[in-house]
Symmetry: C2
Subunit: 195 residues, 2 copies
C-alpha cells in the first residue's frame, strides 16, 4: 500500500509543478515523464490521458477545500461567525495550498467539460446543498438578508476568490491574510441582516 501510491503521487506532483510553470496546455506528457522518472506507459496506466491527470488533481484538491469549509461551518455558532469563517477558510486554504489553488483556477473549465465533469458537478451540488442546510435556519430567523439563493455564494466568497486569483497571478502583492478581516467584514455587510 506504499509503493503503489508512490509512483502515482510522483506523477501527480510532477504534473502540478509542470502545469503551474508552463500552463496545462503547454505541458507535454513527456515533460511530466522527464520530471518524475516514470514511463509514458505508467502514466497512461494510472490516468488514461492528460485530462485524467488534470481531473484527478482538480477533484481531489477541491474536495480537500470543501472538507475544510464544511468543518468550519459545523464549528460556527451563528450566521455572522459562519459567513466570516467561510471567507477565512477560503483564504486559509489558498495560502496553504498556493500551487493547488493556482492550478484549480486554470483547470476549472477544462474539467467541467471533460469526462469527469459530471462527477465534479455532482460533488459540487452535494457540497453546496450541505452549505445551504447550515444557512436555512439563519435565513428563517432573519439573521441573513433575504436575497436570491443563487447569489449568496458569489456575495460571500466572490471578492476573496477574485483577490486571491489576482494575488496568485502576481497582479496583487498584499498577502491575502492581511486582508482577511476586511474581506470577512465585507462579506457580512453583503449578506448579514442589519435588523
Amino acid at each position: 500500500m506504499n509503493e503503489k501510491t508512490d509512483r502515482k503521487q510522483d506523477i501527480l506532483q510532477a504534473a502540478i509543478a509542470c502545469f503551474n510553470e508552463a500552463g496545462i496546455e503547454a505541458t507535454s506528457i513527456d515533460a511530466i515523464r522527464a520530471r518524475c522518472g516514470a514511463s509514458v506507459g505508467s502514466i497512461y496506466h494510472h490516468f488514461g490521458n492528460k485530462e485524467g491527470i488534470v481531473a484527478h488533481l482538480f477533484i481531489n484538491g477541491l474536495d480537500q477545500y470543501w472538507q475544510q469549509l464544511l468543518a468550519a461551518l459545523a464549528a460556527a455558532e451563528g450566521a455572522e461567525t459562519a459567513v466570516k469563517a467561510m471567507v477565512a477558510t477560503y483564504i486559509d486554504w489558498v495560502v496553504h495550498n498556493p500551487e493547488l489553488a493556482r492550478f484549480i483556477f486554470q483547470a476549472r473549465t477544462l474539467v467541467n467539460r471533460g469526462e469527469q465533469g459530471q462527477r465534479l458537478q455532482q460533488n459540487n451540488k452535494a457540497n453546496y446543498s450541505q452549505v445551504l442546510a447550515y444557512f436555512r435556519p439563519w435565513l428563517e430567523k432573519g439573521e441573513l438578508r433575504q436575497l436570491p439563493l443563487e447569489l449568496y455564494a458569489a456575495l460571500i466568497v466572490g471578492p476573496a476568490q477574485e483577490y486571491c486569483r489576482a494575488w496568485l497571478s502576481g497582479r496583487a502583492k498584499t498577502p491575502p491574510p492581511q486582508l482577511a478581516d476586511d474581506l470577512a467584514d465585507a462579506a457580512w455587510r453583503a449578506v448579514g441582516n442589519p435588523r
Copy 2:
C-alpha cells in the same frame, strides 16, 4: 481594405465558436480551418500560432469591455452612481457578449503567460489606473470607505464576476440582469462610506 479583414474576421469567428463548443485545448487548427474555409497557411500568416488567435480575441475583447467601463465611469456623477455603474456595466457586457465572456474566463491564464502576456498586463495596468483616477477624489472626500487599494476591484465586481461565471457555465439559472440591482447594492455596501 474589405477582403483583407474579412478572412481574418472569419478565422476569429470560427475560432471563438470552436473554443466555446469544445474548449481551447480541444480545438485543433484543422477544426477552425474546416469551419471557416481558410487554409492553415492563411491562419498562421495572420496569427502566428494557436495562441496568437487566443490572444487576439482575448485582448480585443477585454479592451471593448474596458472602453464601456471607462465610458460609464466618465458619465457617473458620484461615488455611489459610479460603483453601481461598474457592476451594471459588467453585467451588461457579459449578457451582450456571452460567447466572448465565456471565452475570456477560459483564456485568462493562457494569455497571461504567453507572448502577449506582457502587453495584456500593460493594458490592464493602464486601464486600472484610469479607474483609480476617478476614485481618488471620492476617497478623499470620504464618500468611499478607506480600504487597502488592492481590494476595491475585488469588492466591487468580484461577486458579479463570480455569478456571471456560474451563469455562463450553466451552474446558475437566473439571468444576471435580474440580479443586477442586488449586486450593485451589495457593491455599494462593500465600499461605500456610511458616514
